[in-house]
């Protein structure tokens, strides 16, 4: 279970805009379990309107990352922001999640995870499991894990929800080892001393 620690070196999971509470809790639980660190659910913050692309009617993941990276999130090593809206980066039609290699902020969008390829709606459990996988994959990038060629690894790139459903909820032995080393290393930056913001 996600623990509310308020302590240092944990991972924050923060809903942005209107996001189902259960989805956020499931993501936090999996993050805490997979990375063996406390995972706190932060209060929701508002959607950054300036990141809405009026032509594409999607939210620009790059701009959101930029905005969130400027915030403090004191006491947290990494932050996972969860969205219900559809995210994109300029070269792609959409992204399920986004994070920069070795960065601090990971984004997860539920928009396309709660729909199947044929347009049908899966059970909420399927959608939340997909969200957990995307979150773990993106946090993996935050800990400098690159994409993995092993199809049975969470760090393997999944282009569609079908691929994502085939991916198990675990890292391969090789990635798990790199992750273990990264988690054992002292955090380079654990946040500024300012109070946690209430929105990006």
């Amino acid at each position: 279970m996600a623990k509310s620690t308020g302590g240092r070196d944990g991972i924050a999971v923060m809903p942005v805009g209107e996001v189902p509470e259960l989805a956020v809790k499931i993501v936090a639980t999996h993050v805490a379990e997979a990375f063996q660190v406390p995972a706190d659910v932060l209060p929701a913050c508002e959607l950054p309107r300036e990141s809405l692309d009026a032509r594409r009617l999607q939210y620009d993941a790059g701009r959101i990352l930029g905005a969130l990276e400027r915030r403090a999130f004191a006491g947290y090593r990494k932050v996972v922001a969860v969205f219900s809206v559809d995210l994109f980066i300029p070269i792609f039609t959409h992204v399920f999640g986004e994070a920069r290699q070795g960065g601090r902020i990971a984004l997860v969008s539920l928009a396309r995870l709660v729909r199947n390829v044929d347009g049908s709606v899966p059970s909420p459990a399927v959608g939340w499991t997909r969200a957990a996988k995307v979150a773990l994959h993106e946090v993996g990038h935050l800990f400098d894990l690159p994409h993995c060629q092993d199809e049975r690894c969470l760090m393997h790139f999944s282009g569609g929800v079908d691929d994502l459903d085939q991916t198990p909820l675990q890292f391969c032995r090789y990635c798990a080892l790199i992750l273990h080393d990264a988690l054992s290393a002292p955090p380079a930056v654990s946040g500024r001393t300012e109070p946690a913001p209430d929105g990006p």
Partner: protein, 456 residues
């Protein structure tokens, strides 16, 4: 990440460049960016890139122009064209100029992933091809022809030029100088490389059999011809026929071969229907064929037909500076072939080998190194390991073994017969073919012991 690529993104929009950069860094690729075609070309001049993503519409040089320059100057670099304004015309143009793919922005993440899989696969195949081609070059071309002396450098330069031609080649040189290796190298470098290379030692095949070996025969053509058999001239189809010791061919066979070379047709023995043949002839001789012509034992017309391109292989004593290299090569060869780990020769040993006359040329040196390796007790060969070479300048001192006695005796008789194998065979009371085999086995040359050039 097993296949780490070096990628450059060429796009005038920074946001696009950065999106690509972040994306590819997640897969462990090295990424650089350029905001224009000119900037990209400047960077390519300094660093090699595996893959370029190039936007079509850019101020100044267009992506299509950049593609054309990159593919003509750096053909190994793959280029993928990206555009937000796709058209069939630009797509066709890009593919014609050699683009690996053409993507419309924005694309689905899984689409880029598939394109990258294709690129990585292509790089692997290219890399394998280069590796295998390199191996093939080493195995079939010059690996076994060792030398850096001036005469050998000239030969190395001539091989590719000769190979590109279709004309007949005559290789002259003493026995053991490596004429067959040179012939193989010419074949391997020629457009016929993937067709057969057939070598026939004319001196080692009795004349009565040579006709049937070369032309093949019909069943029942002669006693013992129980079935129809293809001759070498037929079997070599499309490839290269190497006739070693062509000076040993009988007058009649010279006439028959001359006709084949002129008409490119043969008839199997016992059959009258001619069939087309296609081969390139490389002949070799250790004799002076011009002298044979003046004596009337070799046909002038046949000589000029086989001697369109002439290459003389120098004897080892005329390229003594290659001896240490050859010794190293043979030491490596025999160390691999035997359980002995002899990997060097002392400077004194090399000096001794450098002084020796090597009447049997490289083959004799090879035999000498093999013998020294087999008998050596250490990993270094010294002067004492080559004591068998010191029994007289030409190795004719007191023989200690039957083989040495036989070698010395053959050398002596050959000298007495002025290097003429047929006469020497008659004196030795053995078959000419048998004598040829012994000369080859012991690394002798026909004129062994003579002061002037062998065979007249």
């Amino acid at each position: 990440m097993e296949d780490r690529l070096s990628i450059m993104i060429v796009d005038d929009e920074m946001i696009v460049r950065e999106s690509f950069r972040y994306w590819f860094e997640k897969s462990g690729h090295r990424v650089d960016t350029a905001a224009s075609g000119n900037e990209a070309l400047e960077k390519i001049q300094g660093v090699a890139f595996d893959l370029l993503f190039v936007d079509i519409k850019m101020p100044g040089m267009s992506g299509i122009e950049l593609l054309g320059i990159v593919k003509s100057e750096y053909p190994e670099t793959m280029v993928i064209i990206i555009t937000a304004f796709g058209s069939i015309e630009s797509a066709v143009k890009a593919m014609k100029l050699g683009a690996a793919d053409y993507l419309l922005k924005p694309f689905k993440p899984e689409h880029l992933s598939l394109v990258m899989e294709k690129v990585v696969q292509q790089r692997r195949l290219d890399s394998e091809n280069r590796y295998l081609k390199g191996r093939l070059d080493r195995i079939t071309r010059f690996e076994n022809i060792i030398g850096q002396s001036e005469p050998m450098e000239v030969i190395f330069q001539m091989i590719p030029e000769i190979a590109a031609d279709e004309a007949s080649v005559l290789l002259s040189g003493e026995t053991g100088t490596g004429k067959e290796l040179i012939a193989k190298a010419i074949h391997a470098k020629s457009p016929r490389a993937n067709k057969p290379f057939i070598a026939i030692n004319c001196g080692a095949i009795p004349d009565s059999l040579l006709e049937s070996e070369l032309f093949g025969h019909q069943r029942g053509a002669f006693t013992g011809a129980h079935r129809t058999r293809k001759g070498y001239l037929e079997a070599v189809s499309g490839g290269t026929l190497f006739l070693d010791e062509v000076g040993e061919i009988s007058f009649k066979m010279q006439v028959d071969l001359l006709r084949v070379l002129e008409e490119k047709k043969i008839c199997r023995v016992g059959e009258s229907r001619p069939m087309d043949v296609d081969f390139r002839l490389i002949a070799a001789t250790s004799r002076n064929l011009e002298k044979q012509i003046s004596r009337g034992t070799f046909r002038e017309d046949f000589f000029y037909r086989i001697n369109v391109i002439s290459l003389t292989i120098p004897p080892l004593r005329e390229r003594r500076e290659d001896i240490p290299l050859l010794v190293d090569h043979f030491l490596e060869k025999f160390s691999n072939e035997t359980t002995k780990h002899v990997d060097r020769a002392t400077p004194d040993a090399l000096a001794l080998l450098g002084r020796y006359e090597w009447p049997g040329n490289v083959r004799e040196l090879e035999n000498a190194v093999e013998r020294a390796v087999v008998l050596s007790r250490g990993r270094t060969l010294d002067v004492s390991d080559f004591a068998f070479l010191q029994t007289g300048t030409a190795g004719e001192g007191e023989a200690r073994s039957l083989i040495e006695a036989e070698t010395n005796h053959i050398r002596k008789i050959l000298r007495e017969c002025d290097g003429n194998v047929t006469h020497a065979a008659a004196v030795l009371k053995i078959n000419r073919v048998t004598l040829h085999k012994k000369i080859k086995r012991y690394g002798l040359r026909e004129g062994a012991g003579k002061k002037e050039k062998p065979e007249t």
